[in-house]
């Protein structure tokens, strides 16, 4: 098992004819993901190395039975594309695009929530990888193998760093989920931790947070209220000054809120082990797994 993406994933890519869209769609297909189509308005009827392109999500879904969408279009078109995918009945929407206006994200999030049919991952995220099964997004799959560690993260490269050290310790991953670095992520730590809790293959959960917002604090409460699997966490941004956006639009300490220290303390107070460096997180995860084995 795994969560969100697997061999039943049928992926349609919005923006497949763009440079990045083509590159990553083909990489995802090479990995074994069923990439059944693409959407680019005005290019319906063409194909990208054998992947058929449609003018609308509705046409793509009708023709291919796609259940998953990946959004690769530029920021000003991205929210519209997310809403189109939702309207066409797609179950899982993975938005890679960075730099979407905040009010667009707010509208897309609230429409999806109100209708209650689709799940949104991202925006501004690296996607989802279930090693050995499917890769939807830009995560470099070569570093990861199948296993029992579920990873959920607000950051891409930091995830690769931690995942790589865990792999060197001899462990693999059930699924790696990048929820993205924006202020209004479609899915939060809580949503993904809940899925890992239910997934029989996942035995340990690694959570990579960073400064800004209170998603980590809320996750700490949630973990205490009913997550029985061990959770190891990392928080980036202890040295970040207040009021400065550290790369990710959502990574900002506002006044005294959203600091790394407060997040680490909230998690530790609920029994979550927090590693102070990426290496320490991987070591904590490895020792907990070895003890359980």
């Amino acid at each position: 098992m795994s969560i969100l993406v697997d061999s039943n994933t049928k992926l349609v890519v919005s923006g497949i004819t763009g440079r990045e869209g083509t590159f990553h769609s083909l990489r995802n297909r090479d990995y074994g993901t069923q990439v059944v189509g693409g959407v680019t308005p005005g290019k319906g009827g063409q194909d990208v190395e054998g992947i058929p392109v449609y003018d609308t999500f509705h046409a793509a879904v009708a023709e291919t039975g796609a259940n998953t969408a990946m959004i690769f279009v530029p920021p000003r078109f991205a929210a519209d594309s997310i809403l189109e995918a939702e309207d066409a009945g797609i179950d899982l929407i993975v938005a890679i695009t960075e730099g979407i206006p905040a009010h667009d994200e707010l509208r897309a999030f609230n429409v999806i929530k109100k209708n209650g049919r689709a799940r949104l991952i991202g925006p501004n995220c690296p996607g989802i990888l279930s090693p050995g099964k499917a890769n939807v997004g830009i995560i470099p799959a070569a570093f990861f193998k199948e296993g029992n560690v579920g990873v959920v993260s607000r950051s891409g490269t930091l995830t690769y760093q931690i995942g790589n050290v865990i792999a060197q310790e001899g462990f693999g991953n059930s699924t790696i989920v990048g929820i993205g670095g924006d202020p209004v992520p479609g899915s939060d730590f809580i949503d993904i931790v809940a899925l890992f809790q239910e997934d029989p293959e996942t035995e340990l959960i690694v959570m990579c947070g960073e400064i800004g917002g209170d998603a980590e604090e809320r996750a700490a409460e949630f973990i205490a209220s009913g997550v029985t699997k061990p959770v190891v966490a990392y928080i980036a941004g202890f040295t970040a000054p207040p009021g400065k956006t550290m790369g990710h639009a959502g990574a900002i300490v506002s006044g005294s809120r959203g600091t790394a220290k407060a997040k680490a303390e909230a998690l530790e107070s609920k029994g979550v082990r927090v590693g102070r460096t990426p290496t320490e997180v991987a070591e904590l995860a490895a020792s907990l797994l070895a003890a359980a084995a």
Binding site: A102, L106, G156, L158, R218, A236, T277, T279
Partner: protein, 379 residues
């Protein structure tokens, strides 16, 4: 992007939020002429993007022409918590019967706009929230519904504003919400919102933060950016499309991906060092981007050593190595570099660096080892 008070008030006026009339000035003569036209008493206000202007002496009431000159002279060039005052706003002094607080903020947890109103205006709202949380009325607005009149009434009654101003305060909240949505702001704050003895309601201050990602839809707002107010290194980085934040220390940092760079700063600090900057070279960085980033890092005179921490995913380590070799070719750095390359094409990258045999460049294979090394070199 944070707007200055007067820019915020101009935006407010466009959406029907009542503000005192005033004029912008950059010299003592301009300020005194503005005050003469507006009439006395008038208020001379420093325009800097930081709170506590009043306490720092940046806001003064002038009773006549002489005082207007005197205050403008004193405030222009003044340093307020590290920011130099280059601009003034001159407006007619308002008579104040009551001071309230109003704001619309982007509530990340609720994923909805949050509108707040309090009769405890004129002071730090975070302190009020701390000491007397009941004094702030709060309401989340469904962004798909928008702000309705009943929202305004409910907030006004719950905050217990004076009964005779319930309607105008509610109307002002509706206008502030309109500013928030129409201008794509992430924060709209009025502190104080005043009631005059004539029972008029006005925004006496304006704090507006706009979403940078939405500026392409608001060219008139994009023009309000004044690059001369920005830090020179941060401006240089922005011109090169690099994500850079200047910090106080002496170790230059470059990495790929915001989370990994933040983590690198932390690991360097834990090793006893002090980072000079945050720099995210981004995904898929090409050699030119790396050269350009090295120039930005070294333009900060405090930098004594530089750490490259790359975990290649889409970014290829051989490209990063080429960029660094190119940078050494062009600018001949005098400070030592520690380079940690891991991930995609890391072996090729390390080999390129070994062959180039750059002076004062040390390679490390782990993030922790690299942090230790750069801290030693900067000491």
């Amino acid at each position: 992007m944070d707007l200055l008070e007067y820019q915020g008030k101009q935006v407010f006026a466009r959406h029907g939020v009542p503000v005192p009339s005033g004029r912008h000035a950059q010299t003592v003569d301009e300020a005194a002429a503005a005050a003469d036209d507006i009439g006395y008493p008038s208020v001379i206000k420093a325009q800097v993007q930081i709170g506590g202007r009043g306490k720092a002496g940046g806001i003064k009431v002038a009773g006549d022409h002489g005082e207007a000159r005197e205050h403008a002279q004193a405030i222009l060039g003044m340093d307020i918590r590290g920011l130099t005052v280059h601009e003034l706003w001159v407006e007619g002094a308002s008579q104040i019967a009551s001071e309230y607080y109003a704001s619309v903020v982007f509530d990340r947890s609720a994923k909805a706009p949050l509108v707040m109103l309090s009769t405890k205006g004129g002071m730090d709202i975070e302190e009020v929230a701390e000491s007397d949380p009941g004094a702030i009325a709060r309401l989340h607005v469904d962004p798909l519904l928008g702000f309705q009149e009943f929202h305004g009434r409910r907030l006004a009654f719950e905050a217990a504003v004076d009964a005779d101003v319930v309607r105008p305060v509610g109307a002002m909240l509706a206008s502030l919400y309109e500013v928030f949505v129409a201008e794509e702001a992430t924060l709209v704050e009025v502190n104080p919102l005043i009631v005059t003895p004539q029972r008029e309601v006005r925004a006496l201050d304006a704090k507006v933060t706009l979403d940078d990602n939405a500026l392409f839809r608001h060219p008139e707002n994009a023009e309000l950016r004044d690059p001369s107010r920005e830090d020179p290194q941060e401006r240089m980085a922005k011109e090169r499309s690099l994500t850079y934040v200047k910090l106080d220390g002496n170790i230059g940092i470059l990495g790929n991906g915001a989370g990994l760079v933040m983590s690198t700063l932390d690991v360097v600090a834990q090793a006893g060092g002090s980072p000079a900057n945050f720099l995210d070279a981004g995904g898929g960085s090409k050699a030119e981007a790396i050269t350009s980033a090295v120039e930005v890092i070294l333009s900060n005179p405090n930098v004594r050593a530089v750490l490259f921490n790359i975990f290649g995913g889409i970014t290829r380590c051989d490209e990063v190595a080429r960029g660094l070799i190119e940078a050494f070719d062009q600018i001949n750095p005098t400070v030592p570099f520690v380079v940690r390359l891991d991930g995609t094409n890391d072996v090729d990258g390390r080999q390129l660096l070994a062959e180039a045999d750059l002076p004062n460049v040390f390679t490390e294979s782990t993030m922790d080892g690299a942090a230790q090394k750069v801290v030693e070199l900067a000491a």
